[in-house]
């Protein structure tokens, strides 16, 4: 990421909760520091003023039954209350950090021992336990109590730190650091610590809250020190002298308000910190469509729409990120004939999955459809009511999502997950008919009918993929979008799943859009292919003609990177890295990696054109050329990288 160097205050994770919490707590601390300096401390002593007086000019908040000025007592009570929290917080976090690091780094018996002990602490109701301990003391000392609270509350921090250490240790940059010859301890301090800071801060806030809460609870129960006024003691005293029943609102209500403010501040603070620990928490919800400024678009008629079952026209999908709009799918148009097997190929981050979900109108924030149309037999999927769309999904157009592993409801058996889909489209059918349909669908994908009685977690990855295929095809859809159906499967299972998909396609005569990054797998299956690069469709045509005579330099390089059976040519990678969508190069997005790049490519974005019958390409080499010129520049294959590991928008 290039955009890391920004001021802390402009960090997108800064949120209103955090700001509010920080402001309230700082305010409290300031009052606690400055207040006692300005006030006459003696007014907070027993018998200093006339008791039981309502608020007046002299005693703004009145006086209590023991002759203290309530306002002075209140301000004096803030520092000891906060101090208790800080002591508990420091002890709890230091212990939690130390034990968590030990458990995370050393594992083994140290880990089990710490875990057992933290289980024990979690099983003990801490307030009850504190009552027992403090009731033993001759004269309760709240600082000692705070220390004990610290010792009782480290387990949450330790667990968090431990799991974070484990996950950070797995991450690649730590591995890199280790490869550089740093020791574990160096790695710990240089790489791991900065990542732990937000978590520790949140744990600290948690322990401070717990400390103040517990000590205050003990005080309210009568286990406080009668000497130093604290907010908890103020509540206890007002209770002992029945302030509420006697209508002395000026006595019991001010401490309540201050206590409430402190806890609200702490709560909002930790709530806001959560954004730093789990940045994945969605920021916005709802579905809206973002309109982009108009851009040069390929003409609507770029593709002959005759006898097309589905047409995608000028589809645009954007991701709204704190760093700006990311165009994940940019002005993509193509059409699909009935029964066509179309392969859609691209590197990760090229917008394949984003496009698949957008075609089903399933884009979720932060992804939004920013323009274009998806026409299914002439009906614009983006412009029909939800109810009608739901009727088309599965029945006319079905999706096999990329993550078949997680696509089944984990707490419902497989059978009902077929049935609810059938019932949603065909209405209530007799049970035996439903069961029959499910059994048939399962048999078709090569599974036994009794798989219906299993829960998803009882199935293997390949079986889950088959179940997803069976569900997606149970209503004989006309269009099937299969998004990397073989990712995460081993090669043997991949082959079986692809064969099953091929057989299903033949039986249903459905059009299939097979999405993937594996050129070999796709060209084996598809009749036609489309090549996506950085959210744009750069080439489209019949598989064989594209393989024999690719028009776009990127397609050419993709094909050259395929191994051949005779193994005669060298494997060639594509130089450079896939582009970052946030910082796309001007002009043609491929020009930095393109061996044919010209001056024009740096400034002018090419549009999809038809240089040959049945072929589309978006490249400035055309229409001047009729085919790709021979590669003259040698490619250094050692620098070649084809990124397939992670996929944007998955």
């Amino acid at each position: 990421m290039a955009s890391q160097k920004r001021g802390l205050l402009r960090d997108p994770r800064i949120n209103p909760s955090l700001i509010f919490g920080v402001v309230v707590i700082i305010l409290m601390i300031l009052v606690g520091i400055v207040g006692p300096m300005l006030l006459n401390e003696k007014l907070a002593r027993v018998g200093a003023v006339e008791p039981n007086m309502p608020p007046s000019a002299q005693n703004v908040f009145g006086t209590d039954s023991q002759g203290r000025d309530v306002f002075t007592t209140l301000i004096m009570a803030i520092p000891p209350t906060l101090r208790v929290g800080v002591i508990a917080g420091v002890i709890s976090v230091s212990l939690g950090l130390a034990l968590g690091l030990i458990a995370g780094f050393f594992g083994g018996w140290a880990d089990s021992l710490i875990r057992t002990f933290s289980d024990v602490l979690m099983a003990i109701p801490s307030l009850a336990f504190m009552i027992l301990v403090v009731a033993r003391m001759d004269r309760p000392n709240i600082l000692v109590v705070a220390v004990i609270v610290g010792f009782l509350t480290w387990s949450g921090t330790a667990r968090g730190i431990r799991s974070m250490v484990l996950s950070i240790r797995e991450r690649s940059y730590t591995a890199v650091a280790r490869a550089n010859g740093e020791t574990e301890v160096e790695v710990l301090f240089r790489e791991v610590m900065p990542n732990l800071l937000p978590l520790m801060l949140a744990s600290f806030i948690g322990a401070v809250t717990m400390g103040i809460y517990t000590v205050m609870a003990l005080e309210v129960l009568g286990l406080g020190s009668n000497v130093i006024p604290t907010l908890g003691m103020m509540i206890f005293w007002s209770q002992r002298f029945s302030a509420v029943l006697r209508g002395m609102y000026w006595w019991w209500s001010p401490p309540i308000v201050v206590i409430a403010l402190i806890f609200i501040g702490l709560f909002f603070l930790s709530f806001g910190l959560d954004r730093f620990i789990n940045p994945a928490i969605p920021i916005k919800r709802g579905r809206s469509r973002i309109k982009l400024p108009t851009q040069p678009t390929a003409p609507d008629t770029a593709i002959d729409p005759r006898d097309a079952i589905m047409e995608v026209r000028n589809l645009r999908v954007v991701y709204e990120t704190p760093a700006g709009l990311v165009k994940a799918v940019d002005d993509v148009s193509f059409s699909l004939r009935p029964g066509e097997r179309m392969g859609l190929i691209g590197e990760s981050g090229s917008g394949k999955t984003t496009m698949a979900t957008a075609m089903m109108r399933l884009s979720r924030p932060p992804a939004y459809v920013a323009g274009g149309r998806v026409l299914l037999e002439g009906r614009d999927l983006f412009n029909i009511p939800d109810r009608e769309l739901n009727k088309l999904r599965l029945k006319e157009i079905a999706l096999m999502p990329q993550a078949a592993m997680n696509s089944l409801n984990p707490v419902v058996r497989v059978g009902p997950q077929f049935k609810d889909a059938i019932v949603a489209h065909l209405g209530r059918l007799p049970d035996n008919q439903l069961n029959e349909m499910v059994a048939q669908a399962l048999t078709k994908v090569g599974l036994k009918p009794d798989v219906a009685r299993n829960f998803p977690h009882q199935l293997s990855g390949g079986m889950k993929q088959r179940v997803v295929m069976a569900i997606a095809t149970i209503l004989n859809p006309k269009v099937i979008i299969a998004d990397e159906p073989t990712s995460a499967l081993d090669v043997v299972v991949q082959q079986q799943v692809m064969q099953t998909l091929g057989r299903l396609q033949k039986e249903l005569a459905a059009a299939v859009i097979l999405i993937g990054h594996d050129m070999g797998l796709i060209t084996q299956f598809a009749d036609t292919i489309g090549v996506l690069y950085a959210g744009k469709l750069v080439e489209r045509g019949d598989v064989q003609t594209v393989l024999d005579n690719p028009l776009h330099p990127y397609s050419r390089l993709l094909i050259d990177s395929l191994p051949t059976l005779d193994g005669k040519h060298d494997l060639v990678g594509i130089p450079g890295l896939p582009p970052e969508l946030l910082h796309l190069p001007n002009g043609c997005a491929f020009h930095p990696r393109c061996p044919f790049a010209m001056e024009r490519c740096r400034t002018e974005t090419p549009v999809l054109q038809t240089p040959l019958a049945g072929r589309q390409v978006s490249c400035h080499l055309y229409p001047e050329h009729t085919q790709l010129p021979p590669l003259t520049i040698g490619i250094d294959s050692s620098s070649a990288v084809i990124e397939v590991a992670s996929s944007m928008g998955a």
Binding site: T116, F117, V120, M122, A123, I124, P125, L127, A128, F129, I131, L132, V133, A135, R136, M137, Y213, M216, A217, V220, L221, G222, I235, Q239, V244, L245, S253, I256, I259, A260, F263, F268, F271, I281, P282, R285, M360, D386, R387, N390, L392, R393, L394, A398, L399, M405, S407, L408, N409, P410, V411, V412, D420, A421, A424, F455, H457, V468, I471, A472
Partner: protein, 332 residues
Amino acid sequence: MLRYIGQRFLQYLLIIFIANSLTFLLPRIIPGDPIQEALQTKAAAAGHQNVDIQAWVAEYNAKFGLDQPLWKQYLNYWGNMLRLDFGYSLFDFPATVMSKITAAIPWTLGFMTMAIIIAFVVGTILGALLAWPNSPRFLQGAVPLLMVISAIPFYLFGLALIFIFGVELHILPTGGGADPTLIMRWDWNTLGNILQHAILPAFALVLYGIGSWALGMRATLVTVLGEDYITFAQAKGLPDRQVFTRYGVRNALLPQVTGLAISFGLILGSGVLIESIFNYPGIGSLIFAAINSKDYFVINGTVAIMVFTASTALLIVDLIYPLIDPRIRFGK
């Protein structure tokens, strides 16, 4: 499955053993002599200033076995624990600790159960609505309010509630479990009176509980709604409502139900403050009175019961979890 139960059971025995040993040991290493203090308080209360406290203390220590070596006391402690015998009240001598606890428990269980269930149901439904993308916009405004409510220590609501409904409006009793003049019978009048007294303390708990259940449910549900099985359910063309309930809520309920079970486990301890504020005759008031009369045996017994029920509840949660989450039911 049986192995799972067996493993959990052993683990649980270990936890409960260590927890209770700590409950025994830690107070004994804190300096202080509770017997002496209790007797002093008692003597002062009875108007005797110059009695020979030391002799009295020694007699008590011998009677309750507190003069024995620590290991022997420890064994006695377990023996008494297993027989649910926590000795006698120091302050209220002939009464046993257990008799005081059994008298208080029904009150606590009654109003706490009511409060927990109401808060859970209302809070969970509210949290689900907050996470539903189709819910009305104004509901979102409730989130900061819920955060405020769940941040404030709930017993403080109690003071405000007593003031508003009891002192100013005079429509509800300000404390106690029932009218002192009420003759307890199994009739509607008694029940109504008891309910009337339970409304305010329960309300304080419900208010707080709604906030935290709703926020918890909302957070879990938002995560669940981002799962791939939700996308696939939508791709199947299921109506939004069905996707939300059967696929979303059904999965988000698991941690909520766990939380509910844990709250029932902590039922005896979590009402302590609210009960003492309302002078409600349950476990909380028992412990409050014991603290302020230095009745250490009552404190000890009550806390031991709380630790015991809390750790037992954790075991039960673990054992019932497979019933609601099929992923665990069939082993890993």
